[in-house]
């Protein structure tokens, strides 16, 4: 459970983890054969909203979410930009 004031935001670590929750293999069946593919690299660049909170001791908490709304409004939220590279690792 997040202890952020703004519940719309998730912890930055959660934001990163969401990207890697993908199925290991993509499978396609063709006649008697199964073709499997795996993603080796994910390079993502997305605008995101940040919620930076500071407590009295100066400790910073970072909350983030991808853009929530796609409707243009008179006051648009501020979009920051995040690029992340994920790579597949084999666990021995």
């Amino acid at each position: 459970m997040s202890d952020y004031i703004d519940e719309d935001f998730i912890e930055f670590s959660g934001f990163l983890e969401e990207f890697t929750s993908i199925d290991q293999y993509m499978e396609a069946n063709f006649e008697q054969q199964t073709l499997a593919m795996q993603v080796e690299k994910i390079r993502t660049e997305t605008p995101c909203q940040l919620n930076v909170e500071v407590d009295d001791s100066g400790t910073v908490k970072i909350g983030s979410i991808p853009p929530m709304y796609y409707v243009e409004t008179s006051f648009m939220p501020v979009f920051h930009n995040i690029k992340i590279n994920f790579e597949l690792v084999e666990n021995k």
């Binding site: 202890d3 952020y4 004031i5 703004d6 912890e11 930055f12 670590s13 959660g14 990163l16 983890e17 990207f19 890697t20 993908i22 290991q24 795996q38 993603v39 994910i42 940040l50 919620n51 930076v52 909170e53 500071v54 407590d55 009295d56 100066g58 400790t59 910073v60 908490k61 970072i62 006051f75 648009m76 939220p77 501020v78 979009f79 920051h80 930009n81 995040i82 690029k83 992340i84 590279n85 994920f86 790579e87 597949l88 690792v89 084999e90 666990n91």
Partner: protein, 245 residues
């Protein structure tokens, strides 16, 4: 309580960002236990819209809010780094024998900031600088005087490592009588010559180490009860013992 839209400094922000990255890595490592293949975060590049401000000493940032224009852009790139690289490029952490200058109340914040700017964060750092004959007064733009500071720091270091007396023995013989004191941190800085007073008279040391003191005494001066031994091991430490023979 944490509050949004307050200014923060870059160090706290990066600390938090790195903690979040570590958390993500830990989760992925747990996932790796059951899955032969997982994804690792190779690098992260975060580009933010911010307003920086400078109060004369520190730069702080505030995240741009909806409707605000003209924000500066700052990009933080975090790449993966190996433990070897970390060891090569960072200072060793402060050891138990050392004292971080942050913990010394007698040093004012201005002096602490000046020292940090020239890379001094602990008492050992300051010793290294002195050994290389660096003129601290010049290096810090006449803000920090070594002599004054060294005393404060040595005192703090001694307070962190107080003397501990374990066992005291009288060795009385006709030729030479001694008192043996065993313990820890009895002598802390070899720069200073220790002084001992036994029953009101100055006495000499046969040997003085961190864990053991051998003090020469006159056997005639030893009383059955309430012998007083005072040891001054450095300008900041005096310990007094009441001893029964």
């Amino acid at each position: 309580m944490a509050t949004a839209n307050r200014s923060w400094n870059l160090e706290s922000f990066l600390d938090s960002l790195i903690v979040e990255l570590d958390k993500a890595r830990e989760t992925l490592a747990i996932k790796a236990i059951n899955k032969p293949l997982t994804y690792a975060v190779k690098d992260v590049n975060l580009e933010m819209q911010l307003f920086p401000s400078f109060d004369g000493d520190n730069v702080s940032f505030i995240t741009a809010q909806p409707g605000q224009e003209g924000a500066s852009k700052i990009a933080i790139q975090l790449g993966s780094i190996t433990d070897q690289q970390i060891r090569k490029t960072t200072k060793e952490p402060t050891t138990t024998q050392d004292v971080s200058i942050d913990l010394i109340d007698e040093i004012d914040t201005d002096t602490k900031n000046t020292l940090r700017k020239i890379g001094v964060t602990s008492v050992n750092d300051l010793d290294k600088i002195q050994k290389k004959n660096v003129d601290l007064l010049k290096a810090s733009n006449k803000k920090v005087d070594y002599g004054k500071l060294a005393n404060l720091l040595n005192k703090a270091r001694r307070t962190e490592n107080p003397p501990r007396v374990g066992r005291v023995n009288f060795n009385i013989s006709r030729s030479a009588s001694t008192i043996d004191v065993e313990g820890d941190n009895l002598i802390f800085d070899k720069k200073y010559k220790p002084v001992a007073v036994f029953n009101g008279e100055m006495v000499d040391f046969t040997s003085a180490t961190k864990s053991n003191l051998k003090i020469q005494i006159d056997s005639d001066k030893v009383k059955d009860k309430d012998n007083e031994l005072i040891v001054i091991s450095d300008p900041f430490t005096l310990f007094k013992m009441k001893l029964d023979n």
